[in-house]
Amino acid sequence: MADTLQLLKCGVRFEPPTLVLSYKDWKSGKLRRRSMPLRNFNKNTGIDRIIEDLNSNPRHARFIRLLSTAQLQRLLTIVKDKLSGLSLEASIARNNAMDTINPDENLNRVDPETLQRKKLIMDTSFEQKRKKPGDPDFQYNVEVDFETAVVETSGWDSEESDVDF
């Protein structure tokens, strides 16, 4: 299906739980808003299941596709936090932390939810840079020799008391 929709804004309403998108339909040139009620959503509902439901809903799928999985996870988590009694401020702070990649944070130690969210953020960036078979500049075997270009140390080896290094 040729998609003429462009996502402008996304957000949620709490009463009742609803996902709201603002978009422009380039076919008609009109700005529109789409509200998608999140039925049977309570604090015990798995977010993956809600996403599955939205994606398989023939009326909503076209609009859900406009969001990245990372965005969708974030919005639904905010709704779920609210249903669990967390304040909006606390929820946004928690979600911001989950959506930020800190180069010094050990992801082997975080809870599965946080790891999943951080992987989604990384995946979004991965997909943007990805070269796939069929892309005009795709090559299966890409070899680049960086050895001769080395000019400075990473700094990741200094400040080191670690004997293993």
Binding site: G29, I101, P112, Y140, N141, V151, S154
Partner: protein, 243 residues
Amino acid sequence: MAANTQPDYDKPGDEGEERIKIICLGDSAVGKSKLVERFLMDGYKPQQLSTFALTLFTHTTEIEGKKVTVDFWDTAGQERFNSMHPSYYHQAQACILVFDCTRKITYKNLPEWLKDLRTYRPEIPCLCAANKIDEDMSMTQKTFAFAKKHSMPFYFVSAADGTNVVKLFRDSIRAALAYKHNSTDFMDEIMKELENFELDPKYNSKLNQDGTQRNGKDSPDDDEDADKEKKDEKTDAADTGQS
């Protein structure tokens, strides 16, 4: 092969071919699975060995005219427990140790992974890869002392754009074979092989051939997608013109 048993990598496979086992190690989210997937390309369905909490990618290739079956073992999130089940290391003939060059902590954790590896496999060749160079190309201008200190071959790679992924995996297969064939000083051997790999045009052209075949086999589905995207773009452009 039953879903929950390990093959015996010391014995030949069903058709008498060599079998080797190569394990991937490194922190959560450094891109280990994405690297294996990039080497094997799309449409490849790995096998889940649930008992061992790992993912197994089987790859068949030809090295110097001989058929070799390679199992790449991937952690399937087991690294979250900070060390792997001993069965993960059992019979492994080479290791690919990965860090994320945009996240310093993943580099700082390399000694832990190496220590774990050496507890079970004191001598197998280990190759070190700095992944995600596409995120920050300036990292390729920098030196990382860890690999050199432990005499490991070092690769700047990108699972996203493919840089040096095939080279990394091809080298790991050759290193595993060199180890399996009981080289007395296998590290010298690997380093020598790596030099040959650079210099031998015959080998390189063979590699390219492999690559072309692989593309041919995998591309139909993707071409379809790409065509569709192009069509979408055109439609979008036309609509924009109207509005």
